[in-house]
Symmetry: C2
Subunit: 355 residues, 2 copies
């Protein structure tokens, strides 16, 4: 029997190939040499990524009895285009200059403008081009999904869910902006963002899509697996992301150390820290969090408060509890041993400590 | 027999109603009170607009023998969501503060931030929320098209064209950014932008979509109508838009006078003016065009150069020639008298002088 790491590596290679093939089919449409930078940025952006969402979708399909059909790999891979679109727009909205350790899309276009000695604001050109690139990838994710080669009945069964997921993604991103703007750091607010922004869209919905495609509708046990396994892994995944955003190694996160602190992200870590902070600590958090010029000493001070208040330990404990619940639920689901093994490996990989 | 104005007014009312119905169906998805500003902005944005693209699509359908089916009104109305998405993103990219005489979407969200006394940059919140609203409308345009109630075979026949149009729209917008950045004002460059940015997407492609939906494929005379009528009206429409952008009445355009000059748009007017300018005039154009702080005197100077070089008259002549060609081609097409009448009225309405 394959190990779960082998199963996940094999799928990742298939998803990579499927994305390259889809982009190659789009080249004739963008044959004008002036459009080459758009395609190149898409190629480079899509060369990276953990392919997490496609994996949850694919293994949902296999868990509900679907076979290793190339069409499901293509449909699942389309979620990576959706994610790329969201990240490119996210970086424009956050004015985030780095992504996966490389310049963000808008910075690449800005550099193209500068290199070419063009007129007008390079920053504005970069942001505009990145918005359009994100739109292209958003459109293409829908095309790739529809033209994956899956049976019409399967696509029809999953279509309302697919539409719902994409609307929910945009709404979740808006709630995230709002949460930062309102500057309230409550446990409930942080949990809502963890759930909407990423939890549902990263794990639960891709899994549900795969299950629904294979079952061409809903089987009695599916909803429970989506909520008890999918939602729990999704929240734990987002909490891990929050921890990495503050304590992660830049070589691993591809972002400068403390970037989430500089952006003022209202995560569960911050909500927990403020919930247990002394007046002095709370004052420091309010003064430092969201300061775009936050230096190393400021990052260190915020990290120390997050550790001293017990917020870091509490988040690690939450991640462990959500993961344990998810794995216990997985044991109960009437799915094949291979898909159980892969979904176990995926849950662990998505939430593992990486420091 | 109905006049063409009555035909167009009736359709506009039906498109309005169809859009309201579609948005109403989305309300339960956005029931969280925090999401209300997104829906409200969508409602307000979609209350305006000339419904030009839906009209070309609808009358394409009728021209190819389709009946007055409510499903085609819904499918055609979905193009208005696509257009709204493009305008909202456009205003973010151009930092344009007014749209249809009202604050642009990003300015509305910026004002919400200020009114609410939230944290962080109001401008950044406004732009982020507007990017997300544009994404929502882009997704919804695809949903409205697919769920319009048209027969599966009709939608399948038009799907490649529908996908193509949307990719082309994003590429056209990118070429427009590029043209402004490169700052070259050539006749060919201006014509390419007029064609890609708006010409094909505003008239030719909506018309082709309607024809293809009704014919469930391509009839021998259709391509000729799309190119000779559709493309000509599309270019004339964009040229009219360029003239209005410089000489239009703000009450009519909904934009401050001379806004296109301040943004440095490289239109046919500018290409023509530079092509016939004296060295002194050319120097003034280069110094003034694209200056964000351009005042009334600067606008007046640029207008005078555009008139004195004969660029305005040349553009008016081009509009007239494209319109005449389009109407002559329409005479030859084997379509019903009612659709010929409506398409004649539409071509005139889309390109008419409004000063």
């Amino acid at each position: 029997m394959n190990t779960s790491a082998t199963l996940l590596d094999t799928l990742r290679a298939e998803v990579d190939q499927s994305l390259r093939k889809f982009l190659d089919l789009r080249r004739p449409l963008l044959a004008d040499p002036d459009l080459a930078p758009l395609l190149q940025a898409a190629d480079e952006f899509l060369a990276g990524g953990k392919r997490l969402r496609p994996a949850f979708c694919y293994w949902g399909w296999r868990a509900a009895g679907g076979g290793p059909d190339p069409a499901i790999v293509t449909a699942a891979a389309s979620l990576e285009l959706l994610q790329a679109s969201a990240l490119i727009h996210d970086d424009v909205m956050d004015k985030s200059d780095l992504r996966r350790g490389m310049p963000a899309a808008h910075k690449r276009f800005e550099a193209l403008h500068e290199r070419s000695g063009w007129h007008g604001s390079a920053r504005r050109f970069g942001e505009g081009a990145a918005i359009l690139l994100g739109n292209l990838l958003l459109l293409w994710s829908g095309e790739m999904w529809r033209t994956s080669g899956l049976a019409e009945e399967a696509l029809d069964a999953a279509m309302p869910l697919h539409d719902h997921m994409r609307t929910e993604l945009m709404c979740g991103q808006y709630l995230d902006l709002l949460e930062q703007a309102e500057g309230e750091s409550t446990f409930e607010g942080a949990l809502r963002v963890a759930l909407y922004k990423s939890g549902r869209y990263s794990v639960e919905q891709p899994l549900r899509l795969g299950l629904t495609l294979a079952a061409r509708g809903e089987l009695p046990w599916m909803e429970r697996l989506c909520v008890e396994y999918g939602r729990s892994v999704g929240i734990a995944f987002q909490l891990r992301d929050d921890v990495l955003g503050v304590f992660g190694d830049p070589a691993e996160t591809g972002k400068p150390a403390g970037d989430d602190l500089r952006e003022g992200k209202r995560t569960m870590l911050i909500a927990r820290a403020l919930g247990s902070a002394t007046p002095r600590q709370a004052e420091d958090v309010r003064a430092l969090l969201g300061d775009p010029a936050l230096d190393e000493a400021g990052v260190a001070r915020l990290r120390a408060i997050i550790e001293e208040t017990g917020a870091l330990a509490a988040c690690e404990e939450m991640i462990k509890r959500y993961l344990d619940d998810a794995l216990a639920s997985l044991e109960q689901a009437p799915i094949t041993p291979e898909s159980r093994q892969a979904l176990t490996g995926l849950a662990i990989a998505a939430t593992a400590r990486r420091t």
